[in-house]
Amino acid sequence: SLGGTHGCASVAVGSPVVPLGSAVTASCTVRSELCRGLERGKIRIAWMLDSEPMAGSQQQGPGGTEVSNLTVPHFNRSQARLWCLVEWNGTRQRVGMAEIQAGYPPAKPSNLTCMLNLSDYGLTCQWERGADSLPTAVALKCATSRAQREATGEAVTGCTPRGGGRRCTVPRRLLQLYRKMEIWVSARNALGTAESERLCIDPMDVAKLDPPTLQSIRSVPYQTDCISVAWEAARTSAHMELQCELRYRSPEDLAWALVPGISGQARPTQHCGFLFGTQYHFQMRCRRPSPGGYWSEWSPGRNFTTHE
């Protein structure tokens, strides 16, 4: 290859990526017999950090080479080039170079939350993370619980956010529905890896439901201050256990009155305490009964005026 494996000179660094502010050591080895025009014994090696001259030590190395060592005590640039130069015909020749980056191990991702979309059963997760000081590979990891993984050898799956983003979607085929899965975010760069807290959730428990529909609202015979509300869950949650709540108010009310804890699928619910001859506006929403469930949007509203 051009200049042989090592060539006329080569620069070696302890590590191309270092923690910001830490020391960087480098050595430049010049093999005069491989650099036409360089007279052995008269080689003076110099260093530059980007365009800043640096002073290194110089001594003879093995096999007639000249070696210069350099230490930068506190390397505090995010990125720099370390140049090795030699004097030649009255000029300074750049004969070797090493790129050095500095930064921090990735920050621990936090506030991981996930939501299952019922139209395609993809699980979309998002999280927070500090800025990257170095090129960082981020991935959401998703697996059935550790014990099962070891027993069945199921692979860890997940998804990768685009452009180092903070959200991505695990497709249905990589999910295990109705069973606890471990979900976490991993961020890795040259200086280390950081993992978020692990969520242990059944994807179905974090489904975002579509709103129910209010079918009809009627007065209850002989109980003039009561009304009966007929409602229906959305088709996408027709098979699910639900926990729903109703809210209503008349135009004069500032706040909504809330009727929590309506469960089951579509049995009409009865509520009392309504004023006579008053128009009320009703809405309903549902969610999964499990902890961490997301409320659906409120259903389209329905008006009903109680009897005089």
Partner: protein, 177 residues
Amino acid sequence: MPLPEFSGDQDFQLFLRKSLEFTRKIKGDVAALQRAVCDTFQLCKEEELLLVRQHLGIAQSPLEQCHSRSFQAEACFSRLCQELQSYHSSLASVRELLPAHADLVEQLQLDAANLSSNIQQQMEDLGLTTVTYPAESRGALPVFSSLFHHQVGSFFILADFQRFLETAYRALRHLAR
């Protein structure tokens, strides 16, 4: 129907409630595909296709281990796991037939596989041993000699799967408190 001793276990009851809901979901999706087969191929009534069914040799496993008289948890659960796996593969021929519903069929296959491994996992958690049964003819993907036979074959895969789910649902509901 005799109840196994673990039926009072809280985790087991949660597993049953989740599995009942999952089965309801799968039943709904199978019904949607049955409507699609009826609308698309005019194949809607089982009684009009019994002769061709008999001719195609499509057998359905009776699932006697899950029926009330002879209910036996380990045998029933093992049978459910195995049948769900075989429906997971035989649904592939339904997918070929209904390209417009490929996503729904793929979801159905994933759900069948998930429910099967959920049951499998629950059996392991309870320390039950899995009983393996001779693989049904439906295990391998059937090869149909004509488009009509492919359509009728798919019709019966869905009809049998719906019946299977009905039996599974009843068995699970019996165990759920």
